[in-house]
Amino acid sequence: MTVIESSTSLDAGVMKKSSRIQVSRGMKTMIAALVVLFLFCKIFVPDSTSKGAVLGMLPFAAVLAIIALGQTLVIQQGGIDLSVAGSVSLAVVYVTRLPQQHDSQLWKAVLVALGSAVVVGVINGILISRIGINAIVATLGVSSLEYAVIMAISQGSPRRTTNLLNHIAANLTLGIPNSAIFAVLATIMVTLFLKRSVSGRRFEAVGANSHAGFAAGLKVKRHQISAYICAQILYCLAGILLAGILTQPTAYQGDSLVFPSVTVVVLGGTSLLGGRGFPAASAVAALFLQQLNQMVLTLNVPFGVRTLVTAIALLVGIALYTIRWELVRERFSALNSRRSVGAAHV
């Protein structure tokens, strides 16, 4: 009885606080960074903000944003999901390989892909939350298993996207790429779930402090497992869109998305140690990172420099949120005053 009471009071507290619209520090930072980046591009690399460049960049930003939503859910529960590579690739293979370019078969392939995503999410969640295997090891292992399935289904060669999927993912609606509309809808749904629903608030409470959540009577492990399942469904959606955008994808399309997915979550202000999650900020960070890449591509810099951009973005993200800048400032001012005292002695 006491457990139920404390759980109710926890919910009430959290809900009361969330009834105000709060903009996280990560969101403010990312919006500011995005505005600065676009202004910089507009002035110094105007080609990268032309209509064609932006329309070309948005679908990839959308895919990364949807993956980032999933990664945010996992990271805020103190985990990390490296099975992005296998999961996105698997979704791509399902929705191209199974329909064999027949539009009428597409919905079945999408169902199979979603079902498979749920299974992978359950496996990840059980391995990590119930059995206690390290998240990095478990998700890497699961990703390898997914690649085994990919090879079994496709022998490494997916088929051409069906025309219907290409239209759904790559066409424009009112001048906006459909994939971007999907990303915005997914971001709104995940944010509303986390910030406005009772179960979403419980999910956040478990992420913020699993011990406190447990003490409050919340099913900690179940929430953690559900994070991995929801993440997989989002990766699956991203994979389906990517298959539609690319027309003739490869079987390894998710490989290059693992590192950026973690980078944008960190840039959005969600701590790698878990805690509160900021899915909308992660999505904005995905747009920021993709535009940054587009700018670097337009500048014609050597490939080596291009690959450094994501790495530097991750470092900056970690530095922004983990270094306590006021302490650094204090140290510096203390050092300076000591120096000036020393100089006075000499």
Partner: protein, 361 residues
Amino acid sequence: MTRINSRVLKVASGLGIASMLFASTISTAATSAAAAAPSWCGPKKITMALTDGFGGNSWRLVTTASAQAEAAKCPSVKKLYYADGQGNTSKAISDIKSFVAKGVNAMVVFPDAGKAILPALRAAYKAGVVTVPYRVFPGGVAGKDYTAFIGTPFAQAGQNWANWALKALPKGGNVLFLSGPAGNSQGTDEAAGFWGVLKNHPEFKPIGVQPFEVTNWDPALAQQVLTADIAANPKIDLILSDFGPTLVGALTAAQKTGWKIPAIAASDGNVLGCFWKSMQSVDAFPMMTVSTQNDHARLAIDYAVAKATGGKLPGTVYPSLPFEDSISGKPKPVQCASNLPGDVYLSAQLSGAAQAALGKK
């Protein structure tokens, strides 16, 4: 809520497993190759092996099947083993070693990892196995480290593109070249071959990163690179690509924004040919392709078998040949088998239908 959670979990995983069962509609199909012993097939009975550094894409699938079909033409080849290094250099090395231990007489190797494979090749050669690396140069010397290297002059593909460009674009123009990973020797040689032919034609100008734009042969990266290049260069007159099929997504996306597709010189692929055909009524553009060279593996097999069985030795260089030309129609007009998948290569000897059946295995 927690009870609902657990129910949702159970239902969700049940649904997932059920729909996974949907997936397995895998059928098998076998390829066959008829045989009347060719000149490279000698009388001595042998067993041989074929090893790949990485076998997991449609191009490799067709190439491996081509090699197997070629070996099947020679009745003296009693057995052909195959191993896929799966992109793992140490597995590729151990595959070679295990075939030597198995006692094969000859071995054809796709040494993706280049010089890292050389010690294993040398060990096989010293153990008396006819060792024939092909396509990727592994360093070393033929007759000392391995029996022979069956190469292809990638520069020739560049020369073929350049000769066509002179006809297709008599006034010259801006040329963008998309190739694979940074510094890959194929792209470097192709660029050298292309600009070698055009060295006295200043009307052709390279644009983008030199010697080529890096795409890792990944369609997603190719699309992003092309988007950036179109933004930075309002005038692109010719796009070169040494893996034509990766261009299709990028061209489709760019064309949707109102951009006009320029002349294309690439390697062949059914998806590219069909894309060209589909654009005829929308935004026609001239196109030429060179063969994507799945049959390079056949020459490597011929050489290894000839050496091991006592047959007539073929040459050691596989040429780069033009395949399609939308302007002259020679050697062939642009090909499209719309009933076959996009990742079929119609320049290969293996029929398109046989290639499509391979992918269903």
